[in-house]
């Protein structure tokens, strides 16, 4: 057993790169525990918890890089360091040895015609840095969270004054001029413009638009809190107005969790004045109110996409409530699954990486199941005591803070869900596991590939106990995405996963199963 550390002063690597390096190193058998990172207070605490806080590491500052590991005596430190340097250098795109400026100011010297700044820096520094970008008349996309509501309001008001986009904080998805930014899919160009306050909701709608034969003009993100009372829907309104004035856009879609009533009214008042058809999806919100302002309301993200495409083609939009395939066929599939369950199996476990998709699942399932536990439940009585342990019917959003402390988001690093899948599979009361599979830029290069081992393991585990585990999923991705859509779907099917064409249909399918069980 040996505790060894190494420090490199004044070297900076972003947190995601370091976490991926840690993961890679842990694969080595001689290394029991390792932590790789910058000398931040958080990382030192993590090192301490792992028993890896040497004096050398303790003395590091935020500007220094450290590796601390506990391994067998056979661990060759030099070899470890070589491996790390290799991994860190591999992260650089080949041929890209261009100079990287250190500040926004010097970046503007390199590219004076820049028009958008994309920020994913720690939230506590975001306000000052974003303000500098707005000062320079740059549109902004702010991926970071941990920005205060107050700071968000100040930034959005300032952006409004200047007529600039201020997408975020906590904005994960945007497609500007057909360019996916941060976590976004490659969507066929078209005439549907979207303004979304819900990241994966926006992804799902844009992907389904593409699937149904439509395309997008612009996809503007606002960040999750835009429609809260304090913020007032500033960015949703600005985005809406821009799409209204945009020649390429002929249909507008607005997506958000149900806003504060006064804000909903404010938005809908403006929508009323619009000559272009508007589809409004206040996920699970008051559809009558939306209709009363002359907009098209929706019952699911899929429905929003369907309606938008219908309008884009000049057709009359209709509610899409059912399934793509014949309902009879669906019922047959349900029967087939239910037949194989042991009588101990009665629950569903939803393992989601996309927050809005998890919300959609909960919305539908709570209607039939009433008691659906979660780390972010619809009512507080169903909050999980221990978010790492499911209870009865449970839907988990693995992208929430409790799961991402010191770890990358599950869309980047599927391992959190891999572990959870194994856990659910060994619980003999579980009948169904439901999940999303989000592709596109930003996501892992092969999320399906990462999951299938644990899916098979879980299914085998249930089968060995004389039961059957149903695994249902939907893939949020297009042919244009960097991951191979067809291969993704095939991998999942080969592992025995039941694939549905959308999250809404996957949830409805599960809903049928749960109704049959009870």
């Amino acid at each position: 057993m040996g505790l060894k550390s190494y420090v490199k002063k004044n070297a900076y690597y972003d947190s995601v790169v370091l976490m991926q390096v840690t993961k890679e190193l842990k694969k080595s058998e001689d290394i029991n525990e390792v932590i790789v990172g910058m000398g931040t207070a958080l990382n030192k605490e993590l090192a301490g918890n792992l028993g890896l806080l040497t004096d050398e590491v303790k003395a590091t500052t935020q500007n220094d890089f450290f590796v601390s590991l506990d391994g067998e005596d056979t661990v060759d430190m030099d070899e470890v360091l070589n491996k790390i340097t290799e991994l860190l250098n591999k992260k650089k795109t080949s041929g890209d040895e261009d100079y990287r400026p250190a500040t926004l100011k010097s970046a503007l010297k390199v590219m004076p015609e820049a028009n958008l700044a994309l920020f994913s820096i720690p939230g506590e520094y975001a306000y000052e840095e974003v303000k500098k970008a707005l000062d320079e008349n740059l549109h902004v996309m702010l991926f970071s969270d941990n920005v205060t509501m107050d700071e968000e309001k100040k930034l959005k008001d300032y952006a409004k004054e200047k007529g600039l986009l201020m997408m975020g904080p906590d904005c994960g998805t945007a497609i500007i001029n057909h360019t996916p930014l941060a976590f976004a899919n490659v969507i066929k160009p078209g005439n549907i413009g979207i303004v979304g306050a819900a990241g994966t909701g926006t992804q799902e709608v844009s992907v389904l638009i593409d699937k149904f034969g439509g395309g997008t003009s612009q996809v503007i993100g606002t960040g999750g809190r835009d429609l809260k009372e304090q913020i007032g829907g500033t960015m949703m309104l600005m985005g809406f107005e821009a799409l209204e004035a945009d020649d390429e856009t002929e249909v507008i879609v607005l997506i958000s969790k149900p806003p504060h009533e006064s804000i909903a009214k404010k938005i809908l008042e403006r929508v009323k004045e619009c000559k272009k058809p508007v589809v409004v999806d206040f996920i699970g919100g008051d559809t009558e109110m939306i209709k009363s302002y002359g907009a098209h309301a929706c019952i699911s993200l899929e429905d929003a996409a369907q309606k938008a495409v219908a309008l884009a083609k000049g057709n009359t939009p209709e509610d899409f409530t059912g399934f793509s395939m014949d309902e009879g066929a669906v019922d047959e599939m349900v029967e087939k699954e239910v037949q194989k369950y042991r009588n101990t199996q009665k629950y569903v476990r939803g393992l989601y990486t996309g927050g809005t998709l998890a919300d959609e699942a909960m919305m539908v399932l709570t209607e039939s199941l009433k008691a659906v536990y979660s780390n972010k439940p619809k009512s507080p009585e169903f909050k999980l005591e221990d978010v790492f342990k499911s209870r009865e019917n449970t839907i988990i959003d693995l992208g929430e803070d409790e799961f991402t402390l010191g770890k990358p988001h599950p869309m980047i690093d599927p391992s959190a869900r891999v572990e959870r899948m194994k856990q659910e599979g060994s619980d003999e009361n579980v009948a169904v596991v439901l999940m999303d599979m989000v592709l596109g830029y930003g996501s892992h290069e092969d999320p399906a590939g990462e999951m299938i081992e644990s899916v098979k393991e879980a299914k085998d585990s249930m089968a060995s106990k004389g039961g059957h585990l149903t695994v249902v999923a939907s893939v949020c991705g297009t042919e244009g995405d960097p991951q191979d859509l067809k291969a993704t779907e095939q991998k999942l099917k080969d592992a025995g996963v039941i694939l549905m064409p959308s999250n809404a249909q996957a949830v409805k399918f599960v809903d049928k199963i749960m109704k049959r069980i009870s």
Partner: protein
Amino acid sequence: MSKINELFDSELKVINLGLESFSDDLKLQKKAVVHVEWRPVAGGNKKLSSILNQL
């Protein structure tokens, strides 16, 4: 024309501050991007940061 509509009519040119993967993705798509090797001002030291603001 509003600045946002002007943006829609121009070539998108991005300055990326933070996660390298975001610039890598843009480069893969052959989009114009400059990656800033961002670090907190004064290494996150609030006292020095406040002094710098005044100088």
